[in-house]
């Protein structure tokens, strides 16, 4: 029983990486995840990653921002301290639209940023979890869970044949807890 937890196939070129994914999938090797230094077109469809739901979060945050400021302005300018501005009604909706619009945009954008941080475990001061640090620089990494039933040598061969410049057997999942 080896102590290998994850097998990493490290590629120099994104096209080789895509080829590697194809080969692994053809041989029914489950892929744990893929790490690349830049977005690669079509990779999410190939890996079967579900569409992001960030848009729904943005929509809800936008609704929240709009309702918040509309309620606040209503309380200030209509309920608590009605003011006569240019002879308009106290509850003059067109006047409230620009600020409602701005807060909708503000909440949606900040909300999206925080949702993204939450979903990807990124917080200030927290070391990001990385399986191979070079995946943040110039290498393209496919990670395979070593617990599967496929012999590790076969995975090595598939990755090498697909053009991996290096195959690593990691004993621990992340290298960057420190």
């Amino acid at each position: 029983m080896s102590s290998t937890k994850y097998i990493l196939g490290i590629f120099d070129d994104p096209d080789d990486l895509m080829h590697g994914i194809d080969k692994l999938q053809k041989n029914s090797v489950p892929i744990y995840d893929v790490y690349t230094p830049m977005p690669i077109h079509g990779i999410d469809a190939k890996l079967g990653i579900k569409d992001s739901r960030l848009g729904y979060a943005a929509f809800m945050f936008g609704c929240m921002g709009g309702t918040t400021i509309f309620t606040l302005v209503y309380y200030f300018l209509v309920h608590d301290w009605p003011m006569d501005i240019g002879g308009k009604n106290f509850f003059a909706i067109p006047d409230f639209i620009p600020v409602t619009f701005e807060w909708t945009v503000l909440f949606a954008s900040y909300g999206m940023a925080f949702t993204f941080f939450f979903a990807t475990h990124l917080f200030p001061g927290r070391a990001p979890r990385v399986m191979d640090l070079r995946a943040t620089n110039d290498k393209f990494v496919i990670a395979i869970d070593a617990k599967g039933n496929i012999p590790h040598e076969d995975i090595n061969t598939i990755l090498k044949e697909a053009g991996a410049s290096e195959v690593k057997h990691n004993d621990r999942k992340y290298v960057s807890y420190e």
């Binding site: 569409d51 848009g55 240019g86 067109p94 639209i97 620009p98």
Partner: protein, 417 residues
Amino acid sequence: MNTHNSLDEQFVFTGRVKTISLAAIAVGVLAIAIGFLTNQGERTFANLLLMGYYFTCVCAAGVFFCALQYVAQAGWSASLLRVPQAFARVLPIASVILLVIIIAGLNLTHHTEIEGKDVVAPYLYKIWHQAGVTTPGSENYDPVLAGKSGFLNMPFFLIRIVVFLGAYAIFGWLLAKYSETEDELGGLFYYKKSFTISAAFLVIFGFTQPVFSFDVIMSLEAHWFSTMFGWYNFAAMWVSCLSVITLTIILLRSAGYMQWVTQDHLHNLGQLMFGFSIFWTYVWFAQFLLIYYANIPEESVYFLKRWEPEFKPWFWLNIVINFLAPLLIIMARDSKRSTSILKATCIILILGHWLDYFIMIMPGTVGDKVGFFYIEIGVAVGFAGLFTYLMLNALSKFKSLVPKKHPFLQESLHHHI
């Protein structure tokens, strides 16, 4: 992904579409004839101006679409450029039709009522072009309009329209011609040339298009003015042009042409339609809010007229159809990628911007005698038929439905988002 498309495919304009568009033109001619024979000349002229302007704007915005793609060096749109190029090819005819309507409207007179007085006035632009408006001592003398007459006088007015539309038409004609020459000769020479004239066109269009809409539409109510009006009209023409482009492509696809256009291209067009509908609302509201907030009588008269009972329902429907409809229907990614939903949205927006122009034009022309019946519908159907006929005819003149040697063609054929 099918990459083995026949790039020599040519559009053949025959059969049912041709018959239907010719029938629509006949309906339009009939509606105009009935309009004049039943003594509703002013209403007919207002509708002719509306559809003439709409027609011209869609074609001019087609040139704008091509120019924008060249200047942005966009790759995704390379394979569908023939459609806006066909719009550009129709622009000269559209311009001539609009000019004929304007010249006839300025020079033919009839008995009408201006602010309760019975007068003999031209069919169009009766407020600033009525006889005696600029002559001191005349009973029609209007010092405000006399002050504007250095700009708003018939010769200068017509010269401006001819020069602007002529310039747009020449640029559109050149862009289509360069693209065709590029197909024969290849290379980057014509692409670079298109880039240069596109940049020049965008500068000219950006400065002259607001003036064009000030002239053709805003001067119908010559006392009133708004500096937002040009951008507001630009947003309207751009959204309606994008909707017409998208609808044309969807219909061509369902007729078996342009199979290389995928959901991804339509998704992009849907995004543009959605985004610029929001932009339309933004400028519409920017104009409304400033006038409403300042509440200066000479400015708020514009919205006061549109608040009369005969326009109020249209006024509200305008916002629902041009803002709420695209916002709610094509905000989601899936609905932009559904051909049937996108097609329905295109039709809604095309009708919506007809209504938008209707609200801009009618209060300054027919006023409280406004109606919505066979003249409105007939003229709109007639111009839709005319546009379809001329545009498809122009499209069938291209040797292929795709710019074969466009440097970004492969990027467009493999476009994927």
